[in-house]
C-alpha cells in the first residue's frame, strides 16, 4: 500500500492556502443533495457538524451520551493555544509550528502542524463571536498565559474550564443547525460499524442505547470524531464512556491505524486511592506554573501531605528544578511524568501508596497572596479537596502521572481522510498533528481546527467528485453489517461466564500500564502481548453480561467497548515493540542517553507507523510513511 499523505508541494507557509484554492468546490445549490454522518459531538464533531450544516450539507450527528454537550472535550481544563501574539512576546505562527513539531519529538508532519498553527488564530475569533467567555484583562481584552513549557504566553483560557466553554460554544452552533433542520441529532446512540460499498465509506450501523435497536444509516461521507482510546488502560483521565469502538471498527474495515503506541501520560493527576478506583482526575497542567514539584531527599514511608509542611527546605528534592534548571517545573508532560516515576521507583514517593509526589503552592501563596492563587485555580483546588479531603491552600497536593491523551489514532492524509475513501477522522481520533507527544493546550486547538476550518474545505473536494444519488440501506452491504453486529452482540450475551466486564477491563489496564505505560522494554512488551492474547480468549469464554440486547443495558455497552480495547491493546504493544527508539511519550528502556534521557533514532524511525488489519488473529501489516523535514532541523530535545 502506498501511503500518500497528500501534503501539497511548495513553501511551508503557502501549502494550505494553495491547497484550499486547488480543492474542488460543491455548488451551493448542490450541497443539500449530500448527506454527511458525523460520529461524536466533542470539539471536533460538534464543530464539524455545525460548520457543514451551515454550508448546506445534510448532517446526521451521533453521540452515545444523553446530550451532545457531554462529550469528554467538556473536561479539558487548561486552555487553547493560538498564535495571536497579543502579548507582544515574540509569538508567531512559525513559532507555534516550531514548538509543536519539537514538542512532538519530530514525529508529526510539518505541513499539518503549520496548518494547525495558521488556523489557530481563526479559532479564537470564532469562539469569541459565539459568546465563549474567555478570561479577560481589566482593559477588556483577552488574557493569555504561558502553558506547559511554552516560552510565550499564547494560551487562551476560561478559568479552569476552557474545554467546557469551547464545547458549549460548538454545541450552541450545533443546536442552531439542529433547529434549522440541517443537522439531525441522535443522542444515546452508539456506532458499531462502518459500511463500505464499492470501496467507499457509505454509512454506519448504530445501536440505540435505550431500546437496543440496531439501525443502518447511509450517507456520502462519514466523519469519525470519536476521541481517544486512553481507557485501554482502564484507569485514565478519560470519561468512563470514552472508547475506541468506532475507530477500531473502521480499522477492521480497512482504515490504517497510525502510531497506536503513542500515549500521553499526564504528570499532574490525583493519585490512585484504592482498588475501587474507577477513573483518575487530572489537575490542570497550569498548576505547574505556580506549584513546585518535590519529594523528600531521603525516603519517608507513607509520608502524608499534612506532615510534609514540617520537612525543612534542605531535606526536599525539587527534582524537576534540579535536573532541568532552565524549564524547571514546566518541562513537557512526558519528561515530568517519567521523572515522577523515577523518584517513586527509588522509593522516595509519598502518600500511603508511595506512588505520588508533592505539588506545593506554599511559595506561590507567600509570593502572590492566597486571593491571586484562588482566582487562578480556585475550582481546581476545590475539586482536589472534594476528592482527597485535603486542603491544598494549607498542605501540598499529591500528584501522580495518569494516561490522559492518545496521540495515535486513525491514519489520515492532509485532507483528514483515512485510507478508506469517504471516511474521515478528526480531532483526537486521528493520529496527525501531535507526533509522539502533545503539548499542553494543543488538543482543543486541533479538535476545533479540524472541525471548523479544515474539514469544511476538504470534504467538498471529495463530494464534488461523486454522484449525489442517495444509497438505500436495503443494499446487501448494510444488511450484512447489521447481521454481523447483531451476531456479535448475541454472542457476547450468551457467554454467561464468571467475570464482570469491569474485572476484565481492569486486568487489561494493569497489563497495559505495567508494560506499555511510561517506560517500555522488549521483554515487558512480549510479556504483555502474551497476557493480552490470553485475556482475549478469557473475555470470549468467561465474561458475564446479564440482561438482553433489547433494552438499556450498560454492561453490554461496556462489554463491546472492552472487547475492542483488548484487540487495540495488542496492536499498541506491537507498535511499541516495533519502535525501538525513545521519542515523546514512548520511552524504550533500550534507547536512552548516558544520563538517562530519551534517545531518538531519526535515521531508523522518522516515520509514521501505520498498521493494516489483516483478519482475525492475524498479525497486522506495518506500512511506513516517512516524515520529511524541510524546515526544521531535528535536534535532541533538551530542557536542561
Amino acid at each position: 500500500m502506498n501511503l500518500d499523505s497528500k501534503i501539497p508541494a511548495g513553501p511551508l507557509n503557502e501549502k494550505w492556502s494553495k491547497h484550499k484554492f486547488n480543492l474542488k468546490l460543491v455548488n451551493p445549490a448542490n450541497k443539500r443533495k449530500y448527506d454527511v454522518i458525523v460520529v461524536g459531538t466533542g470539539l471536533a464533531g460538534a464543530s464539524a457538524a455545525a460548520s457543514l450544516g451551515e454550508l448546506g450539507y445534510n448532517v446526521k450527528a451521533f453521540c452515545f451520551q444523553d446530550s451532545p454537550r457531554r462529550a469528554h472535550s467538556i473536561a479539558a481544563q487548561g486552555g487553547i493555544n493560538a498564535a495571536k501574539n497579543y502579548q507582544n512576546d515574540g509569538d508567531s505562527i512559525y513559532r507555534l509550528f516550531y514548538d509543536t513539531i519539537k514538542g512532538g519529538d519530530y514525529r508529526a508532519r510539518e505541513g499539518n502542524v503549520h496548518r494547525l498553527a495558521e488556523v489557530s488564530v481563526n479559532i479564537i475569533d470564532q469562539c469569541v463571536a459565539q459568546g465563549v467567555p474567555f478570561a479577560r484583562e481589566y482593559g477588556g481584552l483577552l488574557s493569555n498565559r504561558s502553558f506547559g513549557g511554552a516560552q510565550v504566553s499564547r494560551t487562551f483560557y476560561a478559568r479552569g474550564q476552557t474545554g467546557q466553554q469551547l464545547l458549549l460554544g460548538a454545541y450552541s452552533a450545533l443546536n442552531r443547525q439542529i433547529s434549522n433542520g440541517k443537522v439531525k441529532m441522535y443522542n444515546r446512540t452508539e456506532m458499531l460499524d462502518v459500511v463500505v460499498v464499492d470501496g467507499k465509506a457509505r454509512g454506519i450501523i448504530t445501536r440505540d442505547l435505550v431500546t437496543g435497536k440496531i439501525e443502518a444509516h447511509a450517507a456520502h461521507a462519514v466523519l469519525l470524531c470519536t476521541g481517544g482510546y486512553g481507557n485501554v488502560f482502564y484507569l485514565s483521565t478519560n470519561a468512563k464512556g470514552s472508547n475506541v469502538t468506532a475507530a477500531w471498527r473502521a480499522h477492521k474495515k480497512g482504515a490504517l491505524f497510525g502510531n497506536p503506541c503513542f500515549t500521553q501520560i499526564h504528570p499532574t493527576c490525583i493519585p490512585v486511592s484504592g482498588d475501587h478506583q474507577s477513573k483518575l482526575t487530572l489537575m490542570s497542567e497550569s498548576l505547574r506554573n505556580d506549584g513546585r514539584v518535590w519529594v523528600p531527599k531521603t525516603a519517608i514511608k507513607g509520608l502524608k501531605a499534612a506532615d510534609a509542611v514540617r520537612i525543612p527546605e534542605t531535606d526536599r528534592d525539587y527534582f524537576l528544578e534540579r535536573r532541568y534548571p532552565s524549564f524547571g517545573n514546566l518541562v513537557p508532560r512526558d519528561v515530568a511524568s517519567r521523572n515522577a516515576k523515577y523518584v517513586c521507583d527509588e522509593g522516595r514517593g509519598v502518600g500511603t501508596t508511595g506512588l505520588a509526589v508533592f505539588l506545593d503552592f506554599s511559595d506561590a501563596i507567600k509570593r502572590d497572596g492566597r486571593h491571586v492563587i484562588e482566582a487562578k485555580y480556585g475550582n481546581l483546588f476545590d475539586m482536589y479537596r472534594q476528592i482527597t479531603g485535603d486542603n491544598p491552600y494549607e498542605v501540598p497536593m499529591m500528584i501522580y502521572p495518569a494516561v490522559h491523551y492518545t496521540m495515535g489514532g486513525l491514519w489520515v492524509d492532509y485532507n483528514l481522510m483515512t485510507t478508506v475513501p469517504g471516511l474521515y477522522a478528526l480531532g483526537e481520533a486521528n493520529f496527525s498533528d501531535h507526533g509522539a507527544n502533545r503539548l499542553g493546550a494543543s488538543a482543543l486547538m486541533q479538535g476545533l481546527a479540524d472541525g471548523y476550518f479544515i474539514i469544511p474545505y476538504t470534504i467538498g473536494d471529495y463530494l464534488a467528485g461523486m454522484s449525489w444519488e442517495k444509497m438505500s440501506t436495503d443494499r446487501a452491504e448494510f444488511k450484512e453489517a447489521i447481521t454481523n453486529v447483531q451476531q456479535r452482540v448475541g454472542k457476547m450475551l450468551q457467554i454467561k461466564g464468571a467475570k464482570t466486564v469491569d474485572q476484565l477491563h481492569r486486568e487489561l489496564g494493569l497489563t497495559m500500564w505495567e508494560y506499555c505505560g511510561m517506560s517500555r522494554s522488549e521483554s515487558g512488551l512480549l510479556t504483555a502481548k502474551k497476557k493480552i492474547q490470553e485475556l482475549k480468549t478469557e473475555f470470549w469464554s468467561n465474561v458475564n453480561i446479564l440482561g438482553s440486547a433489547n433494552e438499556l443495558n450498560q454492561e453490554l455497552e461496556k462489554a463491546g467497548r472492552v472487547a475492542d480495547f483488548i484487540e487495540l491493546g495488542e496492536l499498541m504493544v506491537d507498535d511499541a515493540l516495533n519502535r525501538s527508539e525513545s521519542c515523546g511519550g514512548h520511552f524504550r528502556e533500550e534507547s536512552q542517553t548516558p544520563d538517562g534521557e530519551a534517545l531518538r533514532k531519526d535515521d531508523q524511525y522518522a516515520y509514521v507507523a501505520a498498521w493494516e488489519y489483516k483478519g482475525e488473529n492475524q498479525p497486522e501489516e506495518l506500512h511506513k510513511e516517512n516524515l520529511v523535514f524541510e524546515n526544521v532541523k531535528l535536534t535532541q530535545r533538551s530542557y536542561k
Binding site: 473536561a75 463571536a129 467567555p133 446479564l546
Partner: protein, 256 residues
C-alpha cells in the same frame, strides 16, 4: 464501613418502579458515591441480579451526566455533582435512599436514568449566537469589561445536569434557562438576538412542561456549579423587556 442503600428500580419508562434495599459491607471512605455503586453492581452481577442503570461519564464534575437524588437532595448532601460526592460524607451504618430526578419533563428511562433531551430542545430554540464559521471579527476587536466577562462566565458554567429542576417543587427550569439567557444578554455578541432568544427559550421551556418559579431558591441551594438566582431575575427582565418591546413594534414604527 457498612452501608444500606435503598435504590429506585424501574425496568423501563412504561414499567412501574419501586425501591429495593441492598447491603454493602466494605465501603471505603475514599470511594466516590458512583464507585460505591460500581461495587454494588459487581455484587449484583455476581448474584445474577440485573445491575442498577445510572448515568455518569466524566466522573470529574463537569459533564453533567450523573444525576441521583440522594436522601431527598439532588446530588446528595454537598453542593457537588454525584460523582464528586465521596463516601467520607456518610457514616458507618447509614441507610441512603437513591432516586432518579423526578420531573414530568424528565421521564425515567430505566432505574436512575432519565431523559433530559428537553434541555437540549430548549437550547436549540435559541441558546446560541447566530454566527457561521468564518468571517467573524478579530477576537480583540470588541473589548468586554472584565466584570461583565466574569459574570457571563459564571452563568456559562452551568453543566446542564438538571439538579435545579429536580430540587424545585414545581420542577421549574428557570435557573437553567436563566443561566444561558444571562450569558448571552451580558456579552455584546449575544445582544442582537437577546429578545427573540428570551422569548423562544421561555416558550420552549413551557412547552416541555417545566413548572413556574416561585422563588424558593431550592435550585440555587442545590446547583453543583453555584449558579446564582440573580440569573432568574435577569431572565425575567429579559423576557418582560422582550414581550413589551417586540421587534415588530420597534422596526415597524420608524419606516414610513
Amino acid at each position: 464501613m457498612k452501608i444500606t442503600v435503598k435504590v429506585w428500580r424501574q425496568a423501563n419508562s412504561q414499567a412501574k418502579g419501586g425501591f429495593k434495599t441492598y447491603q454493602l459491607d466494605h465501603v471505603s471512605t475514599d470511594m466516590s458515591f458512583l464507585e460505591m455503586f460500581d461495587v454494588l453492581n459487581a455484587q449484583l452481577i455476581r448474584k445474577g441480579e440485573d445491575p442498577i442503570a445510572f448515568d455518569h461519564d466524566c466522573r470529574e464534575g463537569i459533564c453533567g451526566m450523573c444525576s441521583m437524588v440522594i436522601n431527598g437532595r439532588p446530588h446528595g448532601p454537598l453542593q457537588t455533582t454525584t460523582c464528586q460526592l465521596h463516601m467520607r460524607t456518610f457514616k458507618d451504618g447509614d441507610t441512603i435512599t437513591v432516586e432518579p430526578w423526578r420531573a414530568n419533563a424528565f421521564p425515567v428511562l430505566k432505574d436512575l436514568v432519565v431523559d433530559r433531551t428537553a434541555f437540549d430542545r430548549i437550547q436549540q430554540s435559541g441558546g446560541y449566537v447566530s454566527v457561521n464559521t468564518g468571517g467573524v471579527p478579530d477576537a480583540n476587536e470588541i473589548p468586554i469589561p472584565k466584570k461583565v466577562a466574569d459574570e457571563a462566565f459564571d452563568a456559562a458554567t452551568c453543566i446542564g445536569c438538571g439538579a435545579c429542576v429536580a430540587a424545585c417543587k414545581n420542577a421549574s427550569a428557570m435557573l437553567f434557562v436563566g443561566a444561558k439567557v444571562s450569558q448571552y444578554a451580558l456579552l455584546p455578541q449575544g445582544k442582537p438576538e437577546r429578545k427573540e432568544r428570551a422569548e423562544r427559550m421561555v416558550a420552549q421551556m413551557d412547552a416541555e412542561g417545566f413548572g413556574a418559579c416561585t422563588n424558593t431558591r431550592a435550585c440555587e441551594a442545590e446547583c453543583p456549579k453555584g449558579i446564582k438566582i440573580t440569573n432568574i431575575a435577569r431572565l425575567n427582565r429579559e423576557y418582560l423587556g422582550a414581550v413589551f418591546t417586540s421587534y415588530e413594534v420597534e422596526t415597524g414604527g420608524g419606516g414610513e
